[in-house]
């Protein structure tokens, strides 16, 4: 019974992916991609990865979807020039063969996976009590593979700097996006006044409960970034000029704190990002509390995009 359900979800996912690739209209492809990202959350739930399901729904379905729909709306007029450049039949056949070969090789690898499967779960379980957290994924992210999390946050900042560098010369250091405004008595402003308090509480809750249950700071900061974006779209707040000092300090404060704690680990415990015995839980909490606002601001600014308006009037 459950195998039929899994097979049904897999077929649905494939159908949505094929629709996203094959449909003629750009906007339809963007909408299909959002539905695909949301259905992937079901796949993660079936694979017993609830933390991954949360981040896929929030970032893969939600944030990426908003990005793609916004750009599809702006690029709507380019459909004609794009369809004039479609590849010929022989090139498409060659592409199909290449794609088929890659898929077949991956399928063969899936069927040839070793049984019993090698796993690191026993080692994680054995060493988790020293970290003081109950969620093994949080323990892996912030204690066993903390360098990966640090590098990931730094990659996000690099991407943000790259997006900022795409500003035209006249608006260097300005505000991202147009100035949105909506009818102050309209439904969007009403929604943007009601939802953010709820969203902020849910985001902080997901961040807090990630220590022992599925959740964590990536999922929580996505909620905060999304609530800020909603308020900005309704005109209740505006994107900050990226030349302001507080924006730049707030973006790097989290990773700097992370690096400082890592360097302190060199002095006290002998290796970069090592935690001295007994101080693991407080240090993990300190890193998470420092990273959360920086992460939310970075994600929100990545979504806002390159500056389009001058920052100083």
């Amino acid at each position: 019974m459950i195998e039929t359900l899994n097979a049904g979800v897999a077929v649905l996912i494939l159908a949505l992916a094929i629709f996203t690739i094959a449909t003629r209209e750009l906007f339809a492809a963007a909408v299909g991609f959002i539905a695909y990202g949301l259905l992937l959350t079901l796949v993660w739930a079936q694979l017993h990865g609830l933390d991954v399901a949360l981040i896929e729904g929030a970032v893969g379905g939600g944030l990426t979807g908003v990005l793609v729909i916004g750009s599809a709306a702006r690029l709507r007029g380019t459909q004609v020039t794009a369809s004039a450049e479609r590849l010929g039949a022989s090139a498409r056949a060659a592409a199909a063969i290449v794609a088929g070969v890659v898929a077949a090789v991956l399928a063969a690898c899936v069927l040839a996976l070793p049984d019993p499967a090698p796993t690191l779960a026993p080692q994680v379980a054995a060493n988790m009590t020293a970290t003081g957290v109950g969620n093994p994924i949080t323990a892996v992210l912030l204690a066993f593979r903390a360098i990966d999390t640090l590098l990931e946050v730094i990659v996000l900042i690099f991407a943000l700097i790259a997006v900022w560098s795409l500003a035209p010369d006249g608006v260097w250091g300005g505000r991202a996006g147009p100035r949105y405004d909506a009818d102050p008595n309209g439904i969007l402003v009403y929604f943007a006044r009601i939802l953010p308090p709820i969203g902020v509480i849910v985001g902080i809750y997901i961040f807090w409960v990630g220590a022992d249950h599925p959740g964590g700071k990536f999922q929580g900061s996505t909620f905060l970034a999304a609530m800020w974006l909603l308020a900005a779209r309704a005109g209740l707040t505006d994107a900050p000029p990226i030349s302001r000092v507080w924006v730049r300090i707030a973006v790097v404060a989290g990773p700097v704190g992370f690096v400082v704690i890592g360097l302190a680990g060199v002095v006290t415990a002998g290796a970069f990002l090592a935690y001295p015995a007994g101080y693991a839980k407080p240090l993990i909490l300190a890193i998470e509390w420092a990273l959360m606002p920086s992460l939310a601001l970075t994600l929100a600014l990545l979504m806002a995009g390159a500056p389009q308006r001058p920052g100083v009037p």
């Binding site: 969007l188 009403y190 929604f191 009601i194 939802l195 709820i198």
Partner: protein
């Protein structure tokens, strides 16, 4: 046992309402009537699914979270359908 029967019945009825909403989406002639079908049927369908899942929730807080999910979806779908309807009205104004 009774609770399981309630769950199955409520979830199946909710799924039927989702199906009805999708049939409305596919068969109705224009945007406004499709929005009407989707909003009504999907909200009712989700409410029935949540009602069916309440006996299976592991405690009061989980049950309250399920009801919160339904209320938030209600709020979001009402807002979004009004915004889409206004945009559709501006694109295709009627006399």
């Amino acid at each position: 046992m009774v609770l399981d029967i309630i769950t199955v019945f409520a979830v199946l009825t909710g799924a039927f309402f989702f199906l009805a909403g999708t049939v409305g989406l596919l068969r109705f002639p224009d945007t406004l009537s499709r929005l009407h079908a989707l909003t009504k049927a999907d909200n009712l369908g989700l409410g029935l699914v949540v009602l069916g899942l309440l006996p299976q929730a592991g405690g009061v807080s989980a049950a309250l979270k399920l009801v919160c999910v339904w209320l938030l979806v209600l709020l979001a779908s009402a807002t979004v359908s009004q915004l889409i309807a206004r945009a559709a009205r501006q694109l295709h104004p009627r006399a």
